[in-house]
């Protein structure tokens, strides 16, 4: 769909809402990223669509009301780390990058409220000055926005010890698909007044509303951490170790499975052919010694300081190094992880190996399968199809950059459609194709 299909009248009205300098084409917005080969797709996309970069929730509301009147679709965008292709109808991309204000922050309360356009890295830098940390460490946190993190329910290794973003998001402000400005929750860590609208919006992939700001619980930053790398010849052995860990009193910050192929994607792990479980613990010397004793002979390496930071950044962003893979997040009951790995083994071979990392204690795997074809079919399609047969609906699967983020239809589609109808009755946000 080209910009020509957004009429000049609409463009004029968008300029009247946001100011002329904030209405343009995507190519101008992405200037400076052309050196990144992974942006090829995005660049083509962005050159094709009109973009608006509003400065407030009021402006977003006006854009959405205009979209409802004039019949064009709106696609919210943050740091574009989980870019989803558009489908059907004239589209305006609404960037949230200007929404970066700090709404409230008192370090002693361990809470913060910020605009949806602030990056996760910026947030962490801000609260880090007070020895606090944000619980989310999604891939590409240097450019991924807080709004994007909420919309996609992204997470990184810290999810093991600190929970998912649904656990520490305490309030959200947003504009519904039909242009209503609203909020759920608030600024305090315990609050049951009204419906929990945070839960509805987190992981909704921008299909219900444009998130404009959010409030979060913060956590004290650990004063000392150490990572224990435990290695195993097979994933079966790794899972046995995980089960021992889950039964123990140890409660690490992170416990991440890293497949041999994923280790090869992480520069510092390049020479490894074994499965690894990386356990990151925090505490005093006595506490870390206790972890070392508890982990036993599986530990092959202890990592601290800059090397430890590099290791975890490598794990978080290892998919960035592999540009030709489909990236999927699979969450199953922890006892079904073996089923997922067995399915992957069955459908892949030496030529089409897969890579996987994940919060193995929680039943999460981030899987990377090649974009090539096996017998005319993409490995990702084969994998999802097999998984659907074996795990049925007892799982969550999201795929990046597919037409629908949910390749396995949720069992409660009618209720989902009812919610969509309530907040975005004209299907302005992402159209109907998500279902």
């Amino acid at each position: 769909m080209s910009t020509a299909e957004i009429s000049l009248d609409v463009v004029r009205e968008l300029r009247a809402i946001c100011g002329e300098e904030y209405v343009g084409d995507e190519s101008s917005v992405l200037k400076g990223r052309a050196d990144d080969p992974d942006r090829k797709f995005a660049r083509e996309l962005l050159e094709t669509y009109k973009t608006v970069t509003p400065g407030s929730a009021e402006e977003i509301s006006a854009i959405l009301r205009l979209a409802n009147e004039r019949g064009f679709n709106v696609r919210p965008a943050g740091g574009r780390t989980k870019q989803t292709p558009q489908w059907g109808g004239p589209v305006v991309v609404v960037n949230t990058n200007r929404l970066t204000a700090v709404e409230h922050y008192d370090p002693a309360d361990l809470t913060v409220g910020i605009g949806a356009g602030m990056t996760v890295a910026h947030l962490n830098a801000m609260v880090g000055q007070d020895q606090l940390m944000f619980g989310g460490d999604p891939p590409f946190g240097d450019r991924g926005t807080v709004g994007g993190l909420l919309a996609t329910a992204s997470h990184g290794p810290l999810r093991h010890g600190y929970g998912a973003v649904r656990d520490y998001c305490i309030g959200v402000r947003f504009v519904t698909g039909d242009g209503r400005r609203a909020k759920g929750g608030g600024r305090v860590v315990k609050n049951v007044a009204g419906y929990d609208l945070m839960k509805l919006l987190i992981g909704s992939h921008g299909t219900l509303a444009v998130i404009t700001s959010a409030s979060f619980k913060l956590f004290p930053a650990p004063r000392q951490t150490k990572t224990f790398v435990c290695e195993f010849a097979t994933w079966e052995e790794a899972l046995k170790f995980r089960d021992v860990m889950r039964r123990s009193a140890l409660a690490p910050m992170c416990m991440e499975l890293v497949s041999p192929a994923a280790r090869r994607l992480i520069r510092r792990e390049a020479m490894s052919d074994t499965w690894a479980i990386c356990v990151r613990a925090s505490g005093s010397d006595a506490v870390l010694t206790r972890y070392r004793q508890g982990l036993g002979p599986a530990v092959t390496r202890e990592v601290v300081g800059e090397k430890e930071t590099d290791l975890w950044q490598g794990i978080e962003n290892c998919c960035e190094r592999e540009r030709m893979h489909v990236r999927m997040d699979v969450i199953v009951p922890p006892g079904r992880v073996a089923c997922v790995l067995k399915t992957l083994d069955d459908i892949t071979d030496q030529r089409f190996g897969y890579a996987a990392v994940g919060r193995i204690g929680l039943g999460h795997l981030r899987v990377f399968t090649p974009k090539g074809t096996i017998g005319g079919t993409q490995p990702a399609n084969v994998f999802i199809s097999k998984l659907r047969e074996q795990v049925k609906t007892e799982m969550g699967v999201t795929v990046e950059s597919w037409v629908t983020p949910w390749p396995i239809a949720p069992p409660h589609l009618a209720s989902m459609r009812a919610v969509k109808q309530a907040l975005d009755p004209n299907n302005i946000l992402f159209g109907r194709a998500i279902f």
Partner: protein, 341 residues
């Protein structure tokens, strides 16, 4: 019952580290207003699609009746330390709450009783609370043995820095159970002092606890009422207990006004009207303190998406000024109607 906890998104003393109900529910079976039975979520930590499990938790029975729940379980901690920090003044106790979290410690529970309340509790429960204190903090730490011992020492130091006159530690499970018996039976102990009490559930940022306690003292004085404070201090979740005689209509009026004054103050400092008890009928008309017309309109449209005829918990949650809209939304949601729901 668990179903009630899910409907209210209940909390309790140990939510400070472990979270509230919604943080532990991964799936549920729900009977919709039409009679249709649907399932949301499952055994996995996340399922595909919208998080309707999370939305239904805390919806106060206004969108469906939850009949089955899937919850995560937690492993019992290796060690537990329960401390009782005793303060001469309520201000010192209140300031200690944010000092503990500022020291990087997140206790499993951090509860506060003011002097007046703890004397009533002690008379009823014989929990070993000091009768001459201005306030006590009941602090529980859980986790690895090494970690708990270090944290217990750190908490003791913070309390002493904040003018605690004494910090006791429960020597064994019996002593620990006794300390908690006092806390958990505190509401019942109020029955010895007055025919009835009105408990509030406001929340403030934890740094505002000293100010809100002073405010509550002022409210008590202004209305000539006795108000005790026993609450989840670590979360900033207050439970002022306003004693009264329901046979006296004038007292009833004063108590309601005092409750409203307190909740208005909570909201004015960035807090909420309810942390765990829910809105229901009692606080529905206070919702506009927190939410704009448009906020409430969005919530009502979601309620009507599932319960347009208002057959489930009619009149709950939404202020009476929105009741016209509630009645007006009597047509069925077109999407659910098409699905036969």
């Amino acid at each position: 019952m668990l179903g009630g906890n899910v409907a209210e998104n209940s909390g309790g003393p140990h939510t400070l580290a472990s979270g509230v109900t919604v943080n532990h529910v991964t799936g549920m079976t729900v009977v919709m207003p039409s009679g249709e039975v649907v399932r949301f979520g499952g055994k996995a930590a996340e399922c595909s699609g919208y998080d309707l499990t999370g939305f239904f938790v805390g919806s106060e029975g206004t969108v469906g009746i939850v009949t089955e729940i899937i919850v995560k379980l937690l492993r019992r901690p290796e060690r537990v330390a329960t401390l009782l920090a005793i303060f001469e003044t309520i201000d010192d106790g209140a300031r200690t709450v944010s000092a503990i979290t500022a020291a990087g410690i997140t206790p499993a529970a951090l509860e506060m009783l003011d002097g007046w309340t703890l004397r009533a509790v002690e008379a009823a429960c014989h929990a070993g609370y000091p009768l001459d204190a201005g306030a006590v903090l009941l602090i529980e730490l859980e986790g690895l043995a090494e970690q708990v011992e270090e944290q217990a020492e750190a908490v003791r130091e913070v309390c002493v820095q904040q003018k605690a006159r004494e910090v006791r530690r429960a020597k064994d499970e019996t002593e620990r159970a006794l300390l908690w018996k006092g806390r958990k039976n505190a509401f019942a102990a109020m029955g010895r002092l007055a025919p009835s009490y009105y408990s509030q559930d406001g929340v403030v940022p934890r740094t505002r606890i000293p100010a809100v306690l002073q405010f509550i003292g002022g409210v008590a004085k202004k209305h000539g009422l006795r108000i005790g404070n026993i609450f989840h201090a670590g979360d900033g979740n207050l439970h002022p207990l306003i004693l009264f005689d329901p046979r006296d209509p004038k007292q009833l009026e004063l108590v309601q006004q005092a409750g409203r004054d307190i909740l208005e103050y909570c909201v004015s400092v960035g807090g909420s009207i309810t942390g765990e008890h829910g809105v229901g009928l009692e606080k529905r008309d206070l919702m506009p303190l927190l939410f704009t017309d448009e906020d409430l309109d969005v919530m009502l449209s979601l309620r009507n998406a599932f319960n347009a005829a208002g057959v489930l918990n009619p009149g709950k949650l939404f202020p009476t000024t929105r009741m016209c809209a509630e009645t007006r939304g009597s047509s069925r949601n077109p999407v659910l109607a098409a699905e036969g729901m």
